[in-house]
Symmetry: C2
Subunit: 255 residues, 2 copies
DNA sequence: CTATCTTTGTGCACGCGTTCACAAAGACAT
DNA sequence: ATGTCTTTGTGAACGCGTGCACAAAGATAG
């Protein structure tokens, strides 16, 4: 086991690069599909193309997990499914709460991909008293007042925030105070959290804006350069229309 | 304008790094908030903290756009909002179609962040005939048969796919054939597209799995290493439970 | 048992992105 | 006009991630 007493005791040589971790779910999905078709083994080449990456990258990624392949043959599908699942922590049950049950929250609650990956929706929480008790995806909506108790009772360590931007930080603070240490944030805000808490952000608007950039670039190339006047007087900012009264409200609000 | 005749004619020195492009929407949001509060100028330090990045990175990012700041003072908020908007292509109107109007599709249709950024939902499209005509977010759901005509009539170049995984590739192919060159994909599948077409992927399940990985790592450190048996016989794969009949179905299906 | 053939695992080099640290630029006071 | 003080813009170093290319490993056939 080669101790190697650094300041980071446990994880030892488990220095799996973040980029690799982000791809493991991709491999896992491809492998699961193969498993369902009862395919016994895959080569790095096949699996890579199914996952949409190149084979060298895939092999290097797997090398961080250990030597699970057989030269001349490939990888054992079932075995690899298990190893990746274990590495990602999907062999255990992860209770999650979803806060903010608007369209998006409801969509998340109904998402089949959660249950099949070891995630269990422990509760749906919303700030609107009128929503309380309504059933969504087979679960009753609980009121925000109960948040702390729910987290405690179910030993929830992962929270999903699908509230409007304005409510997100407060919800985040309460989740963290109650013991949540991982947050998936759909609200268009920068959340500030103490050290030791992980936040991942999904922002629909940002993705579209990135697409628009490339779309514009493509269009600009077509008409041979000179896209727009590059310099204009500093005063000439006539974006008079306000960006909308909604402070970047996400999909839907609780009320 | 310093021609510089490379094989990429138009964009010239517009070599804005991808990582920078991905952050521009973040800055834009922070700046918009400042603009609404009528703040005239910001320093890189203030803006960086509002956007959740460090100031050196922000300054370097802005340096790719040009010298829009004033030393000793900071950046003019309104001017910067305009410049970034223009760079991202948000000063023009982008008609988008959303295909697959389940919970997620409906959530996207209702998303306020689109309209306020120059994106206009041109149409909602679903494969289920029973859904056709129903109103969602003030728009009638159209049937998939009309897809090509809708793209053509509205000059749509950006498509959003919110269908089940099984339908995604076919929808994608039709969108591309009809002229769409940018796709935002919410279905948990790898889409294959011809060169010149951009695809961005948003996968809810993957984000949660990445969180689970870190969560497990944190838990493992707490109990001082030795998380789980690292080696076990290759045969000992007893993940008997099937990963679920759903082939990783996204939020909701059309029917 | 030996030879051949397939496919993994990885050393190495390269390029992109991040961060540091500072000189240059300008505002502002005197 | 001169000096001080703030903040930008960027050169340079560093580290991570990617992809190439090949040696090592093992399967398989004769």
């Amino acid at each position: 086991m080669a101790t190697g007493r650094t300041h980071r005791p446990a994880t030892r040589s488990r220095g799996i690069p973040e980029a690799t971790v982000a791809r493991l779910p991709l491999y896992l999905r491809a492998l699961t599909a193969l498993s369902e078709r009862s395919v016994p083994t895959v080569s790095s080449e096949e699996l890579a193309s199914a996952a949409g990456v190149n084979s060298a990258k895939l092999r290097k990624d797997f090398s961080y997990l250990g030597s699970y392949g057989t030269r001349g043959v490939g990888y054992d599908v079932e075995y690899l499914v298990y190893q990746i699942s274990r590495e990602l922590g999907l062999t255990q049950d992860w209770p999650v709460v979803i806060v903010g049950i608007g369209n998006l929250g409801a969509a998340l609650a109904n998402y089949g991909g959660f249950a099949s990956r070891g995630f269990r929706v422990a509760a749906l929480i919303d700030a609107d008293p009128a929503q309380a008790g309504k059933m969504v995806a087979g679960l009753p909506i609980r009121h925000t007042d109960e948040l702390e108790a729910i987290i405690e009772d179910n030993q929830v360590s992962i929270g999903v925030i699908a509230t409007p931007a304005g409510a997100a930080q407060e919800v985040c603070d309460r989740l963290v105070a109650a013991g949540v240490t991982s947050i998936l944030n759909f609200a268009p805000t920068v959340l500030s959290v103490p050290d030791g808490v992980d936040v991942r952000k999904v922002d629909l608007s940002i993705e579209l804006q990135i697409l628009a950039f490339h779309e514009q670039r493509k269009a600009g190339e077509d008409l041979g350069g000179a896209v727009a006047p590059t310099s204009l007087p500093k005063a000439a900012v006539d974006r008079s229309e306000r960006p909308g009264p909604d402070g970047d409200v996400p999909v839907v609000m609780p009320a």
